[in-house]
Symmetry: C2
Subunit: 460 residues, 2 copies
């Protein structure tokens, strides 16, 4: 502990866990992006709320930048500490603080993993319905920081819909208890909503009160093979009109190849351009409805083949084909695009963008997947082995500029659910107008006048 | 048009409708509160977006305060113009701009009434589910400004949940197109959410893209007579656990007397302290469930009597008992409290507050009703004929201080769905901390540096 500032922090908060080992600095200094070399000042692992306040006050006194940190599964560099920041990891603050059966809310510390939240809800025969593949490692605080979406948005909405209250340490160290679990509260600006999706730039989320709900009825999982992108839109409309969808996820043949190579089991024979994993409420009526929808899709030439899971194990195996994609691509250090549009804008956009990618990335392996029912597409570009990482990213960013322009013309967003962080910062202007960004800067100034909270993320 | 500033505005926007007749100033200068004497400079009725921008720019040049104005059905003085402001009425901007069947969104101008929005949704066999008694006169822009709740929140949430995009004229006249109908959009601070519930103090909402949804299944409407407040909480828990509730509204015997005197028909004989109008999904399973729930409620002594509507006309008659209350009280110039708590906090709070009101208001007629399933209570205090309005309000405000203190101790809100406006401004500190209010001022400064948008509302 050679840094005098850190020694002062340690003296002031004697129980605070502070790490400065190179291995810890590397581990806690980065997220799932691997583009920046971690270089934090130190890692602070507070065990209680008062310590978080103490850290923020100390940071104010010494002008030390802070990077609030959860499970660091982010894909936009939002939790990267590459310029001497103190990483403020919430990972030790991972307890359930309370459950209320009448309000149907669960109050948790921000460092709890999404999986642990799911389990805690299940103990009370309720669910917290936001869900996605990183559930085992991502933290609920990080979910809030990016307004995480995932695979059940079509049925349950984004994280935002499930946050009844937030406890936040503001930029000056003061504690804010925002909305306090109320259902109705029209008493001024909803700062809770402002905090959700602010990527740690407006305050440190330390606790959250989450709404829970009844488990859905039993569901069925189905895998469909489709001949093309047009068919995908048609099948989505068809299934949405006939069934109560819980999820409707698509991926390409290229994605399937990677996930199969990574150990998943093929479930439909032959090669097909597109696949869908869909889950929907299963009751007697839906048995006929699903058959009718499937047959109609086949007749119209929108569906090549399909399989419906006959057991939980089969359902899990079908889901693995979709959920295993991100992990199966990781060794290829993909350049990730996470874009969204109004569903109605997808067909025209897709025509343009497929032409664009074919023209600009002819020699790259491009893997598509995502949440068609939310208008959310993940476009992963894989790095060819013969290309250096620097050159690869440079080439990708050229295309991202074109992609951002196309998105802007179609009214889309450069970040659907990953956040802006460092990765998409240069493209923020494609989604938000200059006037909006000026207002965002004004809000940032009000919340964090010294600019100590996750500086450089979202905007410079 | 003797005012030179107004003459300049009229010259600059030749098609702008500007009213300065005393009758118009009075009509447009107030909302449903009657505490302030309307005294606007003039009324501007823009017919298009560019005129709204022109008005805001003109206001900036001349330092004229603006009061954005919808249906003026507000109950907190949020749309009052009593100090020489220009009223910016959106009432002529009341058209549907577009419907998208794929996105299931309806884009409307802010001056459209809630009823007209309902009708427009119905044309496409969909619903906009936010609903309350003022539907025929309130505007969707005003609903957004207060994050209006109403009678279906238990099933569908508040206005906030249904806003996919907002077009706003900012304090400097610039146009903001916030979120543009996207389902997922994690690209910086969600200024749309900040705008919702900001009571016209951050910008002028001119257009909104509303999410629509499928109509609910057929429903049944039931009136219950209950022996007391404890029973009310028990019956709510019982019905919520057995049925899919669309609404669960309560009112007291005192409220019933007023609405009956105002022309509604009695539906249950005898006198009972509390009544509930509840609406729930009706299918074969629910027929048994409702009977079982009702019988259990009677057995436990929580329900005195009940009646279930056998026709749409009967359902409307039962609903009138609840929805007619506000209008039936209006001649008594009630002092209105619109408070909310976590549902779990209600029983203890109610004990305290009933004792408080009995002690402080022994000579006043106090009428309770509201949305128990949202933790939202409306407490209306009626003015005795022998008391002047000034003295009456003075006495009520003394009690509101005690009410606000009690709310603060129980973690409640001084405004559930009416907003703060002028009426609750002095009590904002009971619901929001000093640190929160300081941040709200910072946000206001960023959006409206000259303080021209609805000044004096929400905070001074």
């Amino acid at each position: 502990m050679t840094d005098a500032r850190l020694a002062g922090l340690a003296a002031r908060l004697p129980n605070l866990r502070l790490l400065t080992d190179p291995a810890d600095l590397e581990h806690y200094g980065r997220d799932w992006t691997r583009r920046w070399t971690p270089a934090p000042l130190a890692i602070a692992l507070p065990g209680e709320l008062a310590e978080v306040q103490g850290i923020v006050r100390w940071a104010n006194e010494h002008g030390v930048a802070l990077v609030p940190s959860g499970g660091r599964t982010g894909l936009s560099g939002g939790a990267v500490a590459a310029t001497g920041e103190l990483v403020l990891s919430l990972e030790r603050m991972n307890r359930v603080l309370g459950f209320d059966a009448v309000d149907r809310t669960l109050t948790v510390q921000a460092g709890m993993t999404l999986h642990a939240v799911h389990e805690a809800a299940k103990e009370h025969a309720l669910i917290y319905p936001v869900d996605f593949a990183a559930r085992g490692s991502c933290s609920i605080g990080g979910n809030i920081a990016t307004n995480a979406g995932g695979i059940r948005v079509i049925r349950y909405g984004n994280t935002r819909e499930w946050i009844a209250g937030l406890t936040v340490v503001a930029g000056n160290g003061e504690l804010l208890r925002l909305n306090r679990g109320l259902i109705k509260n029209s008493s001024g600006y909803d700062l809770r909503q402002l905090m959700i999706g602010s990527e740690g730039t407006l305050g440190v989320v330390v606790e959250a009160t989450l709404r829970l709900t009844d488990p859905p009825p039993p569901s069925q999982v189905m895998l469909l093979a489709l001949p093309g992108m047009d068919a995908l839109m048609e099948v989505f409309a068809l299934f949405r009109s006939r069934l109560t969808l819980q999820a409707f996820e698509f991926f390409t043949d290229a994605a399937l190849r990677h996930v199969l190579a990574h150990g998943a089991q093929r479930a439909i024979d032959g090669e097909h351009p597109y696949y869908v994993v869909t889950e929907f409420d299963a009751d007697e009526a839906s048995q006929d409805a699903v058959l009718a929808a499937f047959e109609q899709g086949v007749e119209r030439g929108w569906i090549n083949d399909g399989v419906i899971a006959q057991s939980e194990a089969q359902a899990a195996a079908l889901w693995r084909l979709r959920e295993g994609i991100t992990e199966s691509l990781a060794p290829h250090k993909p350049y990730k695009n996470d874009i969204s549009l109004r569903i109605s804008a997808l067909p025209l956009f897709l025509q343009e963008i497929q032409a664009l990618l074919g023209r600009e990335y002819p020699h790259f392996d491009v893997v598509w997947f995502g949440h068609i029912g939310d208008g959310n597409l993940h476009i992963n570009v894989l790095r060819p082995e013969n290309l250096s990482e620097g050159d690869f990213i440079k080439q990708c960013e050229q295309v991202t500029k074109l992609l951002a322009d196309t998105l802007q013309r179609h009214g889309g967003s450069i970040s659907a659910e990953h956040g802006i962080g460092l990765v998409k910062r240069a493209y923020l202007g494609s989604t938000r107008s200059e006037a909006e960004i000026a207002l965002m800067r004004g809000v940032k100034q009000a919340f964090d006048p010294k600019g100590l909270l996750n500086p450089g993320k979202l905007f410079v």
